[in-house]
Point group: C2
Chain length 528, copies 2
């Protein structure tokens, strides 16, 4: 591709409203443009990356035995009514009416559609297991779209749904998908981790998230240094301890719940943590007698209820129920009032804590969720009556798995993990081009133009994806643009080196430079 | 691919509500399933074809210098307000509101979005010409979706938009697209024709449609047998003739128009055609003094206005204005009342008419429109202020071309043109699989299973796309399914032939059968 016949669309200025580095770089490097809040057009360079990501996903899904289909973006409401999600789902589900005033949704996910399909197509256990996937446009009407395509409204997902007559079969496919996901992110040369996860509102029991590690990640992940254990910090349990000392205590007064779990406006519960620890809301909300979602008392209420400020509480005289984190409970176990304290897991796990798996200690890293696999069980198949005749000729409801990858999100996550002050640094397998060919002042030098054209023809004929910068620009502008776009390998053709039939090779990631014979460039690039 | 691990989804019964053969066969051969009116899921076999069509389109667009982008399905209303299409477009444009009650549309086309993009990205004539395309999901809220994906609501389009500072540049890109479209349909081995077309509501001046010829086509196309001339029958002009004889006359009394072109309730105009010819409404509506759309008088009015029935009119005594088709005017030119007749092109061109191009005579065939190229001129760029600085540093509005292919529609059109009573007959380049491997009673014969497995492994290793029918089905069921699905080449492995290390080859299109040595199958298939 010649830049003169391409839409490079690089920008010097960092856009003011782009908060995260991937969003800034995707705009500056000409990967995307905003059409409206949460809606982006993929420019040529961005789409090349997106297509490479999609193709790797497709190849590994096929290898793992999944079969590709394509479902509509627009889905009829009646299927969502069958599962109850028409009512349950919040305003992220964009509900629309067609010209005949019939209800539809713009699909944020396709459990309903695929389950309806399989309900009609599959009648015998002999046709199972079946794992169907698509790479397709989804819509989620985020209240505050942000971070560019990282949390956009329209996005590209790979979503797969598997159907089974036994738990063993579901587990087999789940394991195969786990393996395929590992291969997918390995092939993209991303530093990633599979992480035990909560199944959340989608339902089911077993679930893993796949995270690309990056300092800017929204999620904190707890790893064991002595095992494969990895879990979202919110979910990692801390362990009961025999003894502990603390440098001080933190108190949080929260609303109590009545017998029905409803907030009980006149009663309160006191939570106690060691100084420096962080309250884990999810854990606190699961405590018996605590209202969920958590309602924290203001200073006035604290004074009224406890007769003291948060800094000045005497646990011995507190009259409300007290939950103390395991560490605090161990530190206070010899106090006279210890018996009115209930020990509980209240805090976020931290680096240095023993791993919940029993092996090693915990390290914390930040990650960006790019994939999620679930064992759904029969949540959707039961609600929609999706079953088959089993070996004994009896109708049996299927179990399901579902397996997502945020294809467009992977592009942003890869940038969060791979960039420097000059721009993006693409891993080769998802780079928009493998090689940037940069002739210096070509339009003033016939022999540089000839050498560049010949090398471009040779590399292209060898199947190498080359971005040939044939613009009438100063070399400095070209270097900066190619670095910003993040092409892994550059070949620079200049007068002085050309005297000796040499060109300069530069590696975008390492910064290493070397001189190559013109005649060996194609073989060198091919061998990278 | 093994059928046992695939979703073949063939059906014996012809679905009752499928009117056209492509719709019937796409359902029966397991290519698509209906989700709701005009909304279809692409099953694995259908998606394989769709992806092959899309890839051929993509390759030829790239070769022709177009650059791929991807725009959102959901588009903000304000762009459609800028061009006035927010008001102009009918209810086919599905208007939606997001959670903040902001107006959006589900894009049926992307002129507004691309023009807004280019307006922001391109500032100099040096960056032109530019031809951007996408292969993407579109939505058109058809009042009566029918014929399956042929006239569905959600569909896959390739749409391209080019931008130019001169008419010559636009013409160059238009010609390049014309050439690319010819290559695309040639590569798909479809019998197609480029046809001169009306530009309709999308605006602009020069336009060609690309039609796949098929008896079931909705459009009649007039071809010259002496030149490349081809036009939609509605648009092909008939020629004035010097002399003619007619076997009788037809009379059509239509409402007159007043000076403002409005229907003039008390006045009428008489149109006269030769017996056997068909009135062309579009041509009649363009006649001076005739109301558009055409309003035809009922028998009572004919009697009141002309004092006779349509069968019994005496032209000599008619008091209203008379337009006669060229043929009629020539036949009556020696009549005393000839001077009150205005000669006009009133009828549809017919087989045997001289070609409007001056060379050859006309033949009529039916076609399915699968592509359309337009020179839009400045309709959108003017309305949206999309221009660049020209060589003299002055701001100049760009001219545009647009170029569409109905990617999903091509799949249906290919079937309309390529089928027989047994099912689909795919051209090789868009077939879901190249070879059907059919072992007879494999589950009862170890040596047939071994031969089939070995051949499957060999063909797959050679890069051939094989559908290996490893189901426990009777051979007759397998044969019927593979014919229905339309796989171009079949290899049948049976006991008797295997005694001599032979297999049977069958060509789906010609029905030819031949015996092949097991060892030569892969080379034979590779050479097809």
């Amino acid at each position: 591709m010649r830049t003169s016949q391409y839409l490079l669309a690089t920008q010097k200025e960092t856009p003011a409203d782009a908060e995260v580095i991937s969003h800034q770089l995707m705009l500056r490097a000409g990967l995307i443009r905003k059409l409206a809040s949460g809606l982006y057009t993929w420019l040529p360079t961005g789409l090349r990356v997106l297509n490479k990501v999609a193709n790797i996903v497709r190849e590994e899904m096929n290898k793992a035995g999944a079969i590709e289909v394509l479902m509509p973006v627009v889905q009829p409401a009646d299927l969502w009514q069958e599962t109850g999600r028409w009512e349950e789902y919040g305003p992220e589900l964009l509900r629309i009416k067609d010209r005949h005033q019939r209800d539809f949704v713009l699909g944020p996910t396709h459990e309903e559609v695929i389950t309806a399909l399989v309900r009609n197509e599959i009648s015998s256990y002999k046709q199972l297991p079946l794992n169907l996937y698509q790479i397709q446009t989804k819509f989620r009407d985020e209240v505050r779209p942000r971070f560019g395509i990282m949390r956009g409204r329209e996005f590209t997902m790979k979503d797969a749904y598997s159907f089974h007559i036994t738990q063993e079969s579901l587990q087999d496919t789940y394991d195969a998908m786990y393996g395929a996901y590992c291969k997918i992110f390995e092939r993209m040369q991303l530093d990633y981790r599979p992480v035990m996860a909560d199944t959340g509102s989608i339902g089911g029991s077993v679930s893993h998230e796949f995270h690309v590690l990056a300092e800017s990640g929204e999620d904190n992940i707890a790893f064991s240094n002595g095992s494969d254990y990895a879990a979202n910090v919110e979910l990692a349990q801390t362990q009961q301890v025999e003894s502990a000392s603390v440098d001080g205590l933190q108190y949080v007064l929260v609303q109590a719940a009545d017998e029905n779990g409803e907030a009980d406006a006149n009663n309160w519960v006191l939570l106690v943590l060691a100084a420096g620890h962080t309250l884990n809301d999810i854990k606190a909300e699961k405590l018996s007698g605590v209202a969920a979602p958590l309602i924290t008392a203001n200073d006035e209420t604290v004074s009224a209820v406890l007769g003291a400020t948060s800094n000045d509480i005497d646990l011995a005289s507190v009259k409300v129920p007290v939950f103390a984190d395991y560490v605090v409970a161990a530190a206070l176990k010899h106090q006279a009032y210890a018996e009115k304290i209930t020990a509980a897991d209240l805090r976020n796990i931290e680096a240095g804590d023993p791993s919940p798996c029993g092996n090693g200690t915990i390290e914390i890293k930040r990650g960006i969720e790019v994939g999620h696999i679930f064992q759904l069980g029969d949540k959707y198949s039961e609600a929609m009556g999706c079953g088959v005749l089993n070996e004994n000729g009896k109708h049996e409801i299927l179990s399901m798995g579902c397996y997502g990858i945020g294809v467009s999100r992977v592009v942003a996550a890869a940038i969060e993990q791979n960039h420097d002050e000059h721009g993006i640094i693409w891993p080769d397998p998802i780079a928009p081009f493998k090689v940037a060919l940069i002739p210096m002042n070509m339009h003033k030098s016939q022999r540089i133009m000839e050498a560049a054209e010949a090398l471009y023809a040779e590399l292209t004929a060898a199947g190498v994806e080359v971005l040939f910068d044939d613009r009438k620009e100063r070399p400095g502008v070209m270097f900066k643009d190619m670095e910003l776009v993040g092409i892994p390998h550059s070949i620079v053709i200049g007068e002085r080196n050309l005297d000796e039939q040499l060109v300069e090779y530069k590696n975008r990631r390492t910064g290493e430079k070397s001189l190559l014979q013109l005649t060996e460039v194609t073989a060198f690039i091919g061998g990278l």
